[in-house]
Each structure stands twice: as structure tokens, then as C-alpha cells.
Subunit: 110 residues, 2 copies
């Protein structure tokens, strides 16, 4: 039988996970990086067709600040910036794949 503290711990962890992720764009940005790790800003923006530059900038900044993605700057002219998953980010793969399975099953009757 679940005790109250189990329930609190269970909800606390879900709450923490959603804090780290922030908004819904995080899932599709992570989904992109799982399909192809290390992408540049414009590559991500093209692949996420209806995301605004501001939403993508905010989402990437939030995920980087929370240690889910890594931002690498190359000293080209102009500079090149690449985003990739950290270990913490890669560990989110099970959530993303379960979301994909759910989206495939229930997607048609949205």
C-alpha cells in the first residue's frame, strides 16, 4: 500500500523533472537531438518548423542552464555553436521514447 511519503516523493520527482524541462518545446528539442546529436541553432530551427527564434533560444538556454544539453562554441568567423546532449540529457531517452510510443498509439485520434 503506497504511504503518503511515497506519494509525495513520487510527485516531487515528477515536479523536479518538469522544472528542469520547462515548457513543451523542450521535448521536441530533445527529440531532435536524440534523432541527431550535435546540431546547430539554424539546423534545429529548420527541423522544428514552427518554432520561433525566441522560443528556441529560451528553450536551449533553459536546458543548458539545467545541465541537460551542452553548448560548444567553435572559433570560426562568424563563430559556430553546436548543441548536444549531456549524460543527464541522454538519460532522458526513456521518457522521450515512451512519449513517442504514446503519440503513435493515440496520435491519430487527437
Amino acid at each position: 500500500m503506497r504511504t503518503n511519503s511515497d506519494e509525495e516523493q513520487c510527485l516531487f520527482s515528477i515536479h523536479q523533472a518538469t522544472q528542469v524541462l520547462g515548457g513543451k518545446w523542450s521535448f521536441v528539442v530533445l527529440g531532435q537531438l536524440f534523432c541527431q546529436d550535435s546540431q546547430r541553432f539554424n539546423q534545429l530551427r529548420r527541423n522544428l518548423d514552427n518554432i520561433s527564434t525566441k522560443s528556441l533560444t529560451d528553450t536551449l538556454r533553459h536546458l543548458e542552464r539545467n545541465g541537460v544539453i551542452h553548448r560548444k562554441v567553435y572559433p570560426t568567423v562568424p563563430v559556430t555553436v553546436e548543441y548536444s546532449l549531456t549524460e543527464k540529457g541522454r538519460d532522458f531517452k526513456n521518457v522521450i521514447s515512451e512519449m513517442r510510443i504514446w503519440g503513435q498509439k493515440w496520435g491519430s485520434n487527437m
Copy 2:
């Protein structure tokens, strides 16, 4: 080797799942209903201590419109309204439990 269409399908399903879910509050509302199915509005609001009435109302309306939760009205005076998971909602359990596992593992170093 993943073909482009696999990738597109994979991202399309994730995108669909995030459309159905809407904002981040959906995860903790669903988390609540997984811990205790059939809850009333104020029960949910108390259990989600820092959610505003508007955010909870919008989240419940969005989840109901997308068939993830069911809203039952009892003819009491005043009326009583209870929210519970639909089959589609219950099927989201794996995503929620993977998020809980991830939150537990990475929660401490947020």
C-alpha cells in the same frame, strides 16, 4: 540505419504527444491522478500547492478536450465535479514513471 522518414515519424509522434499535453502543469496533474485517480478541483489545487486556479482550470480543460481526463459532474448542491483518467490518460503511465525515475536520479543536482 534510421531513414529520414523514421526520424520524421519519430518526431511527429513526440510533437503530437506534446500538443495533447500542452504545458508543464499537465505532467504534475497527471502525476497526481496516477497517485490517486478521481479527484475534485480543490483537492487537486491543494495537492499542487503552488498552482494558480487559472493554470489548473486551463490545464484540466486542455486535458479533457484532448481526451486524456474525464470530467464527471454530480447533481449535488452545489454541484460536485470529479476528474479521472481516461484509457488514453492511463496509457500515459509509462511516460510519467520514466519521468519520476529520471527526476529521482537527477533531481538532487538540479
